[in-house]
Every structure is written in structure tokens, then in C-alpha cells.
């Protein structure tokens, strides 16, 4: 388990879950676009919304990769608990972005569409992936004494 947590598979899995949960949340929430007020915008956003999960999954993965590269440059790779923290930074930052976006005032059709089709599912994705990152990293913080 510790080898998995130290490897690149760990952030990859978490980001995959972020992408998948976002898409799943979009399917489950099934926004109708009634409140948007512009059918053309709804038409385009309902297609593009499926890309939000994968795009932010890649963005989070790249962010985590950059931070891990910095970790390597600063020669603190041996600090094992830093890796889950960096993964969490990747997912929580996406969650923070989604939270702020979900709070955008619904003054224009494009804003209403982005909140309904993009921000809300992304918030779910970030929440679930962050929880997964925490749960998977518990063995590092609760080491068994030999």
C-alpha cells in the first residue's frame, strides 16, 4: 500500500475518480436547463459539460505533477506524508474553484448554465476525490509500530 501511495498511480487514480464522479454527477443531477433561459446556450453547454470532468481531472493531475517535481527538486521526496498532501491540494483547489463558481450570481443565461451544468457536478467530483485521497492516505499517518 505504501508503494502505491508513493507512486504516480495514487494521484492518477484520484484524478480519474474526480473525472468520473463529475460525469456521474452530471448524469444523476440531470439538469434540464429550464432556468437558463436560452435554448442555444443549453444545447451547447449540455454537450460541453461532459468534458468538464476529464478536463479538470487532467488539470489536477498536471498540478500535482508540477508540485511533485518541485518536491523532487527540493529533495524532500523522502517525506512520505507530503505526497497525499500534494494530491489533496490538487483536488481541493478544484473543489474551491467549483465552490466559488457555484456561488456566481445567476444574472445571465451563460452563468446559470455554467453553474447548473459545470460547477455543481465538478463540486461533487472534487468532494468525492478529496475524500478518497484522504482515506487512501490513512496508512501513512497510522503506521504500525514494529
Amino acid at each position: 500500500m505504501r508503494r502505491f501511495l508513493a507512486s504516480a498511480w495514487y494521484p492518477f487514480l484520484v484524478c480519474l475518480v474526480l473525472a468520473g464522479t463529475t460525469a456521474g454527477a452530471l448524469a444523476l443531477l440531470a439538469p434540464t436547463g429550464e432556468d437558463v433561459g436560452n435554448s442555444e446556450i443549453v444545447q451547447w453547454v449540455s454537450i460541453g459539460a461532459w468534458a468538464v470532468g476529464p478536463v479538470f481531472g487532467i488539470v489536477a493531475f498536471l498540478k500535482i505533477g508540477i508540485l511533485n517535481l518541485l518536491r523532487r527538486i527540493m529533495r524532500i521526496r523522502k517525506v512520505k506524508w507530503l505526497h497525499p498532501v500534494i494530491v489533496l491540494i490538487g483536488t481541493v483547489s478544484v473543489g474551491f474553484f467549483a465552490w466559488i463558481l457555484a456561488g456566481e450570481p445567476p444574472f445571465t443565461p451563460i452563468a446559470r448554465a455554467i453553474v447548473e451544468y459545470g460547477a455543481r457536478p465538478l463540486l461533487w467530483g472534487a468532494l468525492v476525490s478529496s475524500l478518497l485521497a484522504i482515506v487512501l492516505s490513512l496508512p501513512i499517518f497510522f503506521q504500525r509500530r514494529k
Binding site: 474553484f97 463558481l101 444574472f107 451563460i110 452563468a111 468532494l127
Partner: protein, 439 residues
């Protein structure tokens, strides 16, 4: 290619979440319909100054897209002063249309978030004669002015700084209470409040409480402060209570709203909100009634209520003991049934109040629809009269919940019937809750 480079340049901006309007603006320069693009960006940001980017291509002499931009922003944020930017003209929007749109959908409370609160409130006052909480209309300048706090005044916060410190149990438990009191005295600028706090400190010190060693419990100190120190101030009156502090969603409701979306308010939820406001206002009215008493009366009440509570507790225990010995285990079953009946009765009582609150909301909606020109105060007065005259006017099939009975019972101040309302508080709570839930 240009769009792609713009998109890549915008990517860092995307990281600065919350600036959707700013991001939209980036794409407007190259857009074939830049006017409507800039208009949407300005409306989304809620910044009237951004409407200056709307050039009004194809129009001469007037700029309808720019006027619409200002109108939409004014309507969204509830600031009538934005309507001053409207130029008007042929085929464009007028300032009056803009003001009508604002006043139809907002109240003066929306001005709390306005950039220039005074200008915003003055515009409301010019139409409705009211500046809202904490402001009054100056007869000299005809402009809304912030009310100053009186010598012993409090602001809109329900808890004072010292009470906030009193509630810091951890600090009190580590004996830091006196230190907190010292800090409060240092920070206090109001001379009468300062004198009160210093007298309070003297009282504690004379009672043997030293700076490092506070043995008295927090509740006892709170009680003493309430008896000797607190004073009634007109700014505490229920009609000045800010409703948003009672009804604004808490953290969990905000998280739920962002994850699942906001639910449309129903008649029931609006009535429940009105009752929450009533409950909070009743509590405040109770505090006001207490503070209006003299110090000796407060002390007497504190002593007798403590003795009464102790007596009641002892008596109940003794009675229960005797009956249990005589009646055996069956006694317990009876008390459970009694509790169930009591809670059902309480639930049924609650439904009566919900029915009455919902009747107020419905009748106010009906009067507003039939007489749209009425101001908020007149609307409220007519609604109260209408509900008192015929509570079931709009709901003939009221079913088993005969909420009108509440109005027939004596006021809570006069009678012992639990199905009563406190007339001083109930209608004020309905009015304020209606305004808040119909924003």
C-alpha cells in the same frame, strides 16, 4: 488561432474563480456582436461602469443596449441609483422603466450590498418614504443619513462583545475571564458602557474574584451582569431586528444548496420562515420586557424563579416516586402516552400557527396583486386587517386546521391559552419575514 491564444491566456484567469464576467469580457473584443457580449459581461459582474464598453453600434442618438445594460444591473442588484446612468431616447429604455423594475423586485434592504448605500436608500426613500434599518430621511437635505448610536446604544448584533467573551467557555475555564473583562474595558469607547463595565469589575473584585483566580461559574456571572448591568435600549426593539441573521442559510444549508441546487420556496417553507422570525422576536421581546424592569424587580424575579425551579424539580421527583410505588410499572406507560399526546398537541398547535402565517403570506400576495401601487407599510396594514377580519378568505377549505381560532383567543400577554399570539411581535415578524422571503 487568435481564439486559442486568448483561451490559453484566459486559463490562468480561470484559476481566479469568481470572475466569470471578467473572463467573458476577454472574448468580447473579437466577437462579431461585441455590444451584447460586453453587455452580458457587465450584467454578470454587476458593475454599471462596465456598461461604458457597450458602444451601441447601428444606433445614432441613442444607445439602447447600454441603457438595457444599466437597467438589467439595477434590476439584478436592487440599486435604483444605477438608473441615473440611463440616457433614454427613441427606441431605448427610460429611467422610469428602470426604477419600476427595481422597486417591483426589491426592497430597501437590498441596499446593504450597494456600492453607495446612501444614494441607494435615498432613491427608495423618495418613492416609499423609508430609508430602511439603521437610516433615517433627513428633512433638511432630503437624503438618507445613518442613525448614530445613542449613549447607551447597541448595534444590530444580538450579542455584545462582553457577552461574546462570556461565552468563550474555554477561556473562562482557564481563568482568563477577568483578563477578557480587562480587555473589554480597554477597548470600550462608549463612556456610559465603560462606566458600567468598570462598576461590574469593581463588584467582582469586592466579591473576592481576583485577576488570576475566577471561581464563580460563567452562568452566575452572566446572571449578575444581566441583573446589574444591562439596560434596555430602543435599538433593541423587535421592529429593528435584522431578519437576515435569523433566516440567512447557515454553512450546511449553503453547502447543500451548492451541491444540489436551491429548492423553490413553497408556501409551507415561507410560513415556517415567518414562524422562525416570530420565535426569535418573542425571545427578544422577553429580554426587552425583563430589561425594562428595575434592578430590584430583576433581582426578585431571579431569586424566586430559582427557588420555584428547585421546588418544582423536588416536588416532581417526590410525586413520581409515590405514584410509581402505588401504581407500579403501568405508571411509566401512562407518562409515555401523556408525552405522546402532549407532543401531538404541540405539533397540532404548531400547524395552527403555520396556517396563520401562510394565510398572512397568501392574503398579502393577493392584495399586492390587486393593488400594485401600495407601499410596503400600507400593504402590511391592510393584510393584518384582512387576516383579522376573515382569516379563511382565500382558503375556504381550511380542513381541520382552524388557525383562525388563534385570533379569537386573548393575547398571550393577557391569557393562559397556549394557542395565542403576542400582538406586539407576531405581525411585525410576519411583515419582516414576508419582505425577506419575497426578495
Amino acid at each position: 488561432m487568435r481564439r486559442l491564444s486568448l483561451l490559453l491566456a484566459a486559463s490562468p484567469t480561470l484559476l481566479l474563480a469568481g470572475c466569470l464576467g471578467d473572463v467573458m469580457e476577454i472574448f468580447c473584443e473579437g466577437s462579431p456582436d461585441s455590444d451584447h457580449c460586453y453587455q452580458a459581461a457587465a450584467v454578470q459582474e454587476g458593475k454599471p461602469e462596465d456598461c461604458a464598453n457597450v458602444k451601441g453600434e447601428g444606433f445614432s442618438g441613442t444607445n439602447p443596449p447600454k441603457d438595457k445594460c444599466n437597467l438589467q444591473i439595477a434590476e439584478n442588484i436592487g440599486d435604483p441609483s444605477v438608473c441615473d446612468n440611463i440616457e433614454g431616447g427613441f427606441m431605448s429604455y427610460s429611467k422610469e422603466e428602470c426604477l419600476d423594475a427595481v422597486f417591483r423586485n426589491h426592497t430597501v434592504d437590498s441596499c446593504e450590498k450597494a456600492e453607495d448605500q446612501v444614494k441607494c436608500r435615498t432613491a427608495f426613500a423618495q418613492r416609499f418614504g423609508e430609508c430602511g434599518d439603521g437610516y433615517f430621511l433627513s428633512k433638511k437635505t432630503n437624503v438618507c443619513v445613518k442613525r448614530g448610536t445613542t449613549a447607551s446604544g447597541t448595534d444590530d448584533d444580538i450579542e455584545s462583545k462582553v457577552e461574546g467573551d462570556l461565552n468563550t467557555i474555554k477561556d473562562a475555564a482557564t481563568g482568563k475571564y477577568m483578563e477578557l473583562l480587562e480587555n473589554a474595558i480597554e477597548a470600550e469607547t462608549d463612556p456610559s458602557k465603560l462606566a458600567g463595565l468598570q462598576a461590574y469589575k469593581e463588584f467582582l473584585e469586592k466579591g473576592g474574584e481576583q485577576l488570576e483566580n475566577v471561581g464563580t461559574s460563567i452562568d452566575q456571572l452572566k446572571e449578575l451582569k444581566k441583573i446589574f448591568l444591562d439596560a434596555y435600549d430602543p435599538s433593541m426593539d423587535v421592529d429593528k431586528m435584522p431578519v437576515n441573521k435569523i433566516l440567512d442559510p447557515g454553512l450546511f444549508d449553503k453547502i447543500k444548496g451548492r451541491l444540489f441546487g436551491e429548492d423553490e420556496p413553497t408556501e409551507r417553507s415561507k410560513a415556517d420562515d415567518a414562524l422562525s422570525v416570530y420565535e426569535a422576536m418573542l425571545k427578544r421581546q422577553g429580554e426587552i420586557d425583563y430589561l425594562k424592569k428595575g434592578k430590584m424587580d430583576r433581582l426578585t424575579e431571579a431569586i424566586t424563579s430559582n427557588v420555584k425551579d428547585k421546588l418544582t424539580g423536588d416536588l416532581t421527583e417526590k410525586v413520581t416516586g409515590i405514584v410509581e410505588n402505588a401504581a407500579g410499572p403501568a405508571f411509566k406507560a401512562v407518562t409515555f402516552v401523556g408525552d405522546a399526546v402532549k407532543s401531538f398537541q404541540e405539533e397540532a398547535q404548531k400547524e395552527m400557527f403555520v396556517g396563520l402565517a401562510a394565510a398572512y403570506n397568501r392574503q398579502r400576495d393577493a392584495i399586492k396583486a390587486s393593488q400594485p401601487g401600495l407601499d410596503a407599510e400600507e400593504l402590511h396594514k391592510r393584510t393584518v386587517l384582512s387576516v383579522k377580519e376573515n382569516p379563511y378568505a382565500d382558503n375556504p377549505n381550511a380542513g381541520v386546521v382552524k388557525y383562525g381560532n388563534i385570533l379569537e383567543n386573548p393575547d398571550c400577554q393577557d391569557g393562559g391559552n397556549p394557542l395565542c399570539i403576542d400582538d406586539r411581535v407576531f405581525w411585525t415578524a410576519m411583515d419582516k419575514a414576508y419582505v425577506y422571503t419575497h426578495k
